[in-house]
């Protein structure tokens, strides 16, 4: 993504938004003008920052834990035929349950604090990370494995030095998906039951008809998601650098 293009698109969007507000004369509690939202963003900056921090922590920990579990599961699946036979149907079946439907249960079990949201983010990214990395591990070029075999390589070292390294671009693809899904998981968790976080702040602002604050929060959430996406994109490129 080119920075200049992104800025031009953002500015164009704001202009269109302003034009719609002026020409339609829509009430500000339905669609506040960009200027009003900018004012709210400045006025409530401390409040928004406090709640944004909670969401950042939830998404970050969700990404780290979900990715770690995904990597470990993928390795386990790739190295054990028994694990593939037993775990794969469970994994696929688990995707038949909409993760959003689990949110109330997670809040019931893990409370209103950050852990129910972290677990929500973990659940939502676990499958894409596992699936992408597992696919990568199973697609090691056969010639590499032939070479390793004639060289008398051990199984563990073949896994680490060849299969794992060759699968890193696939892991990068999984992480890109995770970066899109993890904030969704955290915010849905916050909607269902929380006392902190940007999702909670949006609901709170909505309930008090502070629509400008709601939009300001939404924009911060969008910017955070874009930043996460860009950082993960850099990481994914690094993982695939030499492939």
């Amino acid at each position: 993504m080119n920075w200049k293009h992104s800025i031009i698109s953002a500015v164009a969007l704001i202009i269109v938004w302003q034009v719609i507000v002026i020409t339609t004369g829509v009430q500000s509690f339905i669609l506040p003008s960009p200027l009003k939202v900018a004012k709210a963003l400045w006025f409530y900056r401390e409040l928004i920052a406090e709640h944004a921090w909670v969401t950042i922590i939830e998404v970050f920990l969700g990404m780290v834990i979900g990715t770690t579990l995904g990597i470990l599961t993928a390795i386990h699946l790739a190295t054990s035929a028994a694990a593939r036979a037993i775990l794969r149907p469970i994994l696929v079946f688990s995707q038949a349950v909409p993760v959003f439907a689990l949110a109330p249960i997670l809040v019931l079990w893990f409370g209103y604090g950050i852990w129910s949201k972290i677990i929500m983010a973990v659940l939502i990214i676990y499958f894409p990370v596992t699936s992408a990395f597992f696919d990568g591990l199973m697609k090691t070029p056969a010639g590499y494995l032939d070479l390793a075999k004639t060289m008398g390589a051990t199984r563990v070292r073949t896994l680490w030095h060849i299969r794992f390294k060759a699968a890193l671009p696939s892991l990068g693809s999984g992480l890109r998906l995770a970066a899109v899904y993890a904030p969704i998981g955290a915010v849905i968790g916050e909607w269902v039951g929380a006392s902190k976080g940007l999702g909670y702040l949006m609901l709170l602002a909505n309930g008090r008809v502070k629509i400008d604050l709601m939009f300001a929060t939404l924009i911060v959430l969008a910017v955070l998601t874009v930043c996460l996406h860009l950082s993960v994109d850099i990481l994914a490129r690094r993982l695939a650098k030499d492939h």
Binding site: P141, G143, Y144, D146, L147, A148, K149, T150, M151, G152, A153, T154, R157, T158, H161, I162, K165, A166, K241, D242, H243
Partner: protein
């Protein structure tokens, strides 16, 4: 390096009950280049893979023995058409990957010597993506030398190279692998005529020995005996008559 054994391959192979090749006997003399020619799908690579102890998806019925009656495992090095270099490793680390995969201490000094022997000292710290196809195959040759195995199995290692680079690689390989037992699988009659001490054409029902030049490999491309052999091989591959 230990003494290079000769290899005796005798047997037949089938896939789901359908014969891939009938009972054949292939004698690969020690310290010589033996060349296996034949059309695609006839099972040349399968023979090589069976000797290498690699997966083949065929049912093999027969025996593969070394002339010293010792197992071949850990005495075989393998080079394929694809250079099989790991794109994330430098030339030096690719050459030393064997030790790394076995959990041994890498011998970087020896790796540097091998890289020097294939003429790539200036490229030791580059990654494969920065090298040409010919240079990459040189690295693969250095990696094969690094393994220091007495038996070398070559599965069309030069077929993806351009004519000039291929000729250079043939000469380099003949020079550097002269003191080993080599089995070369190839489609190319010219390659066989230049490199092999003995040559066979593989057919589904038999293995036919071919006359090879009596001079030492690697023979000059325009050597009359080499050209005659090349023509004879080509003629045989096309018509099936010697």
């Amino acid at each position: 390096m230990n003494a290079a054994p000769g290899i005796s391959f005798a047997g037949k192979a089938s896939i789901d009950g359908a014969a891939l090749f009938a009972q054949i006997t292939l004698e690969i003399p020690a310290y010589q280049w033996t060349c296996l020619l034949g059309s695609s799908g006839v099972g040349k690579s399968t023979v090589l893979r069976l000797i290498a102890g690699l997966e083949t998806y065929v049912e093999f019925n027969g025996d593969i023995t070394a002339s010293d009656a010792q197992p071949l495992t850990d005495r075989v090095a393998y080079m394929a058409q694809s250079d099989l270099l790991f794109p994330w490793l430098t030339v030096t680390n690719n050459v030393g990957i064997g030790a790394c995969l076995r959990g041994e201490k890498p011998d970087t000094e020896r790796a540097a010597q091998m890289i020097k022997r294939v003429g790539l000292s200036d490229h030791a710290n580059k990654k494969p993506a920065a090298l040409s196809g010919g240079q990459r195959q040189r690295v693969a040759l250095a990696r094969t030398l690094m393994e220091n195995r007495p038996v070398i199995l070559l599965d069309e290692p030069f077929s993806a190279l351009d004519a000039k680079t291929r000729a250079e690689m043939q000469e380099l390989a003949a020079e550097l692998l002269a003191d080993r037992t080599v089995l070369l699988v190839t489609h190319d009659p010219a390659e066989a005529a230049r490199l092999a001490h003995s040559g066979y054409v593989m057919q589904p029902d038999q293995l036919i020995p071919m006359d090879m030049p009596t001079t030492l490999p690697a023979r000059s491309i325009d050597d009359p005996q080499t050209l005659t052999t090349q023509n004879a091989l080509f003629h045989f591959l096309r018509t099936g008559a010697q």
